[in-house]
């Protein structure tokens, strides 16, 4: 088990220079995620236009894996429809739980594959994704502004 598998350069880059950090006043989807086990907390804000993710921000604190994963996620979902977002979340979760992963779909998220070798850290990687998925789901159920709270993957 080499540490390099966990802390890939792209992860450290996103951790030290998080993309889309902050909040959005006009977010239709606002969701909080928490991992009670380690105290990681984050908030995700999604603003939609024409049924697609127009802008997205995240805020919070946590370990390098949870923060880098959230940062990468914000980059990946921009311009996608909510159906596409949900599909991406499913692909990502499948990869983190040992399923096959395609670089065409997941891009630099593939870097998080190494986390699988460190089982206690998998929840760190999925934290933002579980929260986003719950926010999307609740938005679709209500078709209005939603504020949701999610806890990390079981």
């Amino acid at each position: 088990m080499a540490l390099d598998d966990l802390y890939r350069e792209v992860i450290l880059d996103h951790y030290t220079h998080p993309r889309n950090k902050g909040t959005l006043a006009d977010a239709e989807i606002k969701v909080e995620g928490a991992n009670p086990l380690c105290g990681d907390e984050l908030g995700i804000y999604v603003h939609l236009a024409d049924g697609k993710v127009a802008s997205v921000r995240f805020e919070g604190r946590g370990c390098s894996i949870s923060q880098a994963s959230a940062s990468m996620m914000t980059e990946m979902i921009k311009g996608k429809t909510l159906t596409q977002v949900h599909a991406l979340v499913e692909q990502f979760r499948a990869m983190m739980h040992g399923g096959a992963a395609s670089e065409d779909d997941l891009g630099e998220l593939m870097a998080l594959q190494g986390v699988r070798k460190f089982p206690v850290r998998i929840k760190c990687a999925t934290l933002a994704w579980v929260a986003l998925d719950q926010g999307v789901e609740e938005f679709q159920a209500t078709r209005g502004k939603v504020e949701a709270k999610a806890s990390s993957d079981k």
């Binding site: 540490l3 220079h17 380690c38 460190f118 850290r121 760190c124």
Partner: protein, 415 residues
């Protein structure tokens, strides 16, 4: 140094992890076990495994004798007046729950108050939350200051005739603070309240005498003091135990059982329903012998020295913040810290790769961490077998963490 001669007693300390010698610095979670404790456990199962207080045959009598001898050793270890004041439990958590259920339900009423502190482990917080919810009692919390020291003037104001119990930790499992238990107990008693001490982090590391502390209940664990997991105890003054209703009902704790009612044995057996944890409790007695042969004063002195060395070495690491008192006479060998460049989990992960075992997270003290304004800390905690070399390895590991998480050049593709 004390540890140099003792290390060989602990088989596990000679192993390596990830190709590096193991540096075990998570003693606040559990301690390692000396060979003689492991042997005592094996001896019970291979030589005289039998249920206690029942069989009229040789090995049952031997098991009973050794189990009760162990009780006497553990009781004397904390200064009990008699062995019957010591109830074996699975650990500190069960001991505190025993008081919350058996004593609490009988003695705490609506409008009563229980005073805790902001630095309690969840095991000395959640049982009281449950009791308060059941009985309509209220909880109050003694705050701590920037050095992690309890503010006794606030405590004084919280005490009243409504206060039924003051329950606090002897030594904080995060800040390392040694609380002024004797003084707090005296003030609590003056207000007519009982006093419970969570001794999980004190009993293994310093001389403890319950009479000297002047407390009513003292809960502690065997596995943090070289004993097996699943061994723990509640000490309480005999009159209190005698007046308390039972905790668990079942075999072993009864005198006469009829279909509608039963009468109970005297303490401590009243509180030990069912087959107890015989082997672990006997082996815990062996751990007590081991620690007493070394001397708790010597162990405390070793830890004071090592804590001072650790604090000094950690001050060399840029961006590192240590929590808790600076005054070594007021702190134990639990050292929690944060590092600016990396989250506690990342710190622990990198240290693990260097063979260094520390704890990362909230250490079962979420309110305390909220009070500190951090979501997680890393924690190194020392014991009798740790050396300066262990601390040197920790510091080397922390420099490796800093290097790995040092700021990257700003990416060109950033929006």
């Amino acid at each position: 140094m004390l540890a140099d001669t003792l290390r060989a007693d602990f088989p596990l300390l000679s192993r390596s992890v990830h190709g590096k010698p193991l540096v075990y610095l998570d003693n606040a979670a559990t301690s390692q076990k000396p060979r003689r404790v492991i042997d005592a456990l094996v001896r019970y199962y291979s030589d005289y495994n039998a249920n206690v207080h029942r069989g009229i045959y040789a090995i049952a009598e031997e098991a009973t004798r050794r189990y009760e001898e162990s009780r006497a050793k553990v009781a004397a270890f904390v200064g009990a007046r008699r062995p019957e004041e010591l109830v074996f439990t699975r650990g500190t958590t069960e001991a505190i729950n025993l008081v919350a259920y058996a004593w609490g339900r009988a003695n705490v009423h609506p409008g009563d108050e229980i005073v805790l502190t902001e630095m309690e482990h969840h095991s000395n917080l959640v049982p009281w939350q449950l009791l308060a919810a059941q009985t309509g009692a209220a909880l109050k919390f003694i705050p701590f200051d920037g050095q992690g020291v309890l503010q006794l003037d606030a405590f004084e104001r919280q005490l009243s005739e409504r206060t039924k119990l003051v329950a606090l930790t002897h030594v904080s499992n995060v800040l390392g603070t040694i609380n002024p238990v004797r003084e707090i107990a005296a003030r609590a008693h003056a207000a007519g309240a009982k006093v419970l001490i969570d001794g999980a982090q004190s009993a293994p590391h310093m001389p403890v005498n319950v009479a000297d502390l002047g407390v009513d209940f003292f809960a502690f664990s065997g596995h943090k003091m070289c004993g097996p997991t699943g061994s723990g105890a509640l000490w309480a003054r005999y009159e209190i135990l005698e007046a308390m209703p039972p905790f668990h009902g079942g075999g072993e704790m009864i005198m006469l059982v009829q279909l509608e009612s039963s009468t109970y044995k005297d303490p401590p057996h009243k509180f030990e329903a069912g087959t107890p944890n015989i082997g672990d409790c006997i082996a815990w007695g062996e751990a007590v012998d081991y620690l007493q042969a070394i001397g708790l004063d010597a162990i405390r002195a070793h830890e004071v020295y090592l804590t001072s060395y650790t604090l000094e070495r950690l001050s060399e690491v840029p961006g590192l913040v240590v929590y808790g008192p600076r005054d070594l006479t007021r702190r134990g060998g639990v050292i929690s810290f944060t590092l600016d460049v990396a989250h506690a989990h990342d710190v622990a992960q990198v240290l693990d790769q260097e063979g260094v075992a520390v704890r990362a997270g909230h250490h079962c003290t979420q309110p305390l961490h909220r009070r500190l304004g951090v979501s997680a800390t890393s924690r190194a905690s020392v014991y009798l077998y740790n050396t300066e070399r262990d601390i040197d390895a920790l510091v080397r590991g922390l420099h490796a963490v800093r290097k790995l998480f040092s700021p990257r050049p700003t990416p060109v593709h950033q929006a």
